[in-house]
Amino acid sequence: MNTQTTAQIIGFLAAMVLLTAFGMLVQRRIYGLIHLFAWQGLFLSISTAIVGYMTGRHHLYISSVLTLTLKVILLPYILNVLIHKLKIRKEIDTVVNVPLTMLIGIALVILSYHLTAPVRELSTFVTRSVLAIALATVMIGLLMMITRRHAVTQIIGFLAMENGLFFAATSATYGMPLVVELGVAIDVLIAAFIFGIFFFHINTTFDSLDVEYMARLKEED
């Protein structure tokens, strides 16, 4: 396959990543959220594999398999178990209503396109336009953490941000050194475990994982 076709496929996968990010932003059900996160991880790992094939950097294949195991199989499984064990409520409330969140998401995409314009001028990589999408995914992950009241969405938002960063790394610089990659992956895994432990404790204490209730922990004066 020539570079033109691969660049187009990577562009298509980037669009899918953005679509799943928006899907997570507007999703109301917990299981849908986790499914979308798994799909995002899948698109990400396929994209990494293709970049690895195109540039001949074989350590990207390892990154791709790592992403696949971690983000498509392991983390969704852990989250599913968590939700099942804690008998968490399956609907997600929003702080701001859904259409407004979508509009803010669109504005963030336009903003990240504008911000990455200088990089696009200078870069010679075929995948340079994908950087805008990656930045947008990071910001949408942050937006997800802000506008949702469910604790599990906070962690998925954080993981989505990390997805975006990973995507940016593969597109702008053709991947990170493998050592950094492994370190980040283990950090993410440990973060997931720690979150899980915290959730158990919070749920036992408050019987709920709605983060609004945790606002009561502050001192009244």
Binding site: I110, Y113, H114, A117
Partner: protein, 681 residues
Amino acid sequence: MILTPLGIASLSILLFLLQVLIVPFFKRNEKLMVNICFSLASAASLFAIAAGIWAVGNGTTDRVILALGLPDLPFHLRLDPLSGFFLTTIGLLAFYVSIYSIGYVKGFLGHRSVMRLIVFYSLFVAGMFMVVLADDALFFLISWELMAAASYFLVMYEDEQSENRRAAFLYIVIAHIGAVAILLSFGVMAGLATGFKDFSGYTFDAMRASKFPVEWATAAFFLAFFGFAAKAGVIPLHVWLPEAHPVAPSNVSALMSGVMLKTAIYGILRVTFDLIKIFPWWWGAVVLVFGLLSAVLGVLYALMQHDLKRLLAYHSVENIGIILIGIGLCMVFTSFNMPLIAALALTAGLYHTINHAMFKGLLFMGAGAVIHAAHERNMEEMGGLIHKMPWTAALFLIGCVSISALPPFNGFVSEWLTFQAVLLSPSLPAPLLKLLMPVGAALLALTGALAAACFVKAFGVTFLGRWRGPHKPNIQEVNWPMRAGMLMAAASCLLLGILPTVFIRWMDTVPVQLIGATMSASAGTHGWLWLTPVAPERASYSGIIVFLGILLVYGVVYLLLHASPGRIHRRPIWDCGFEKLNERMQYNATSFSMPIRRIFGYFFNIKEHVDLSPQAAHSAFPKRLNYNLKVKDRFWSWLYRPVADVSFWLSRKVGMLQQGRIQVYLIYSFITIIILLVFVR
């Protein structure tokens, strides 16, 4: 001198001023006064239309310097294609409204004196003509003030009600704030033209000839934009529109909404393209943003209204927004040196200007007819008028269809042109603008759809169904002059919709004058039938063929498939078999707009309150229910209350100077003398 376009226009103005003088002679016979004066007004408007058409068609510029004016500052008059276009627009609507007024003003005979109405009406229209002909700052401002003052008295015509006086007061305050801004803007430009040395820069020619440094040009532009926006009713300076337009007599409302707001558009075009000429792209973006805001918020506020004339007034805000979108796009494309697309955007804006004058004039005239017949302004008390007032209903329907941008009428053509201009935005070099324009186009589509919803509501609640109020008055169709005025306006709506290429070719000289490019080279390449803005493969529209197609298809369908009268039986209303249906169970204006109120609710300050009387609340079927809904414009509490509070606070502080004791005033004089002695030797 008479046979130049400018001569004819001046003749028209003189006829209006003449009317003011002859009115006292008819004080005995008011009916004759109405007939003669308004016929004279129609004739004068015809002269103005002729002058305007001639000026735009020829593309020439006429100037004259009058002997009037201050010493060393005589009045300059100028009739160029831009003035000619607005002269035609104002003249057309003034003609239709004058004929309408012959019938409408007769409704005031016997209740109050119509002399005031006629005098100020003539001064108002004359003032508008003078504004578009003015070629120096002094004459412009004098005409502007004349226009504002005359319309103030017209708004306050029925002045025994305090709400009318309050509305007129609000109107004049905002008009004057705008006038001060325009004055400052002219001052900046005039001063820069001569280096702040003398007064000779007050002529527009002097301003045209000079090049302004960017900071001063920006100051001049934004001052002028602020001032003209206050007159045009752009958000957030729109609050006077829904107060002043409903309380004025309907023929005056038609003129105010239809053409007075357009003089502000004329001002913006004159200052930006003719006097300042070179500007950065972000000015156009600011104009575009304000246009979009006015369009969307205007139509949302209109949807919440149940007073027919207030609804129409808010729609004027929306349509001014759409015109500003066209102008803003033109400014952006001009600053990026894309003259062909700029000409398209400008044509779209100008076309919408004349369209709006036509259909808004028609709608206000229709509302006037309804209020004249039913003595009621609240839509929720009306209904079923289509049976008793068939002409008014049909003509009002034409206005509703035009403003909802449905083919084959004129609203569709200008919206289509605006959309085509936005769809060409991918050719812009600036990436951020390229991405934001389509979102703007989507907002424009939202506006169009909401406007259609609003007019289904307005027409449906007013004319269809059954009478919703408690007592049904005796309703009759209105008299012939009123019908004639409305009929002519409706015919213009149809013509403007069917023959767009003819009009675009006629008004082509205006974009040539303002930005040096023309659209009609490509617009009419494939003959006068097809409107092809950029290239026929890109997009094309044929108004006439759509119209003929509609007639043909509807006609064939009707002829082949219509039912013979023997097969139609009239029966009581079915309503799915529910009985005991009364008039109060129909949808009215508030209920119709409920879904949209729910969805877009956070733009307004909405207080809904449902009251059940205590005994009714207990029973299974409550008998008496009180529903209270208050929808307020948020700009009052965000913008106007704080500004009013600050000005009152400042005035209180300054008011402390006024102590009332004579010793204090003597101390002031004493201190002033000492200061003068010490510092000015």
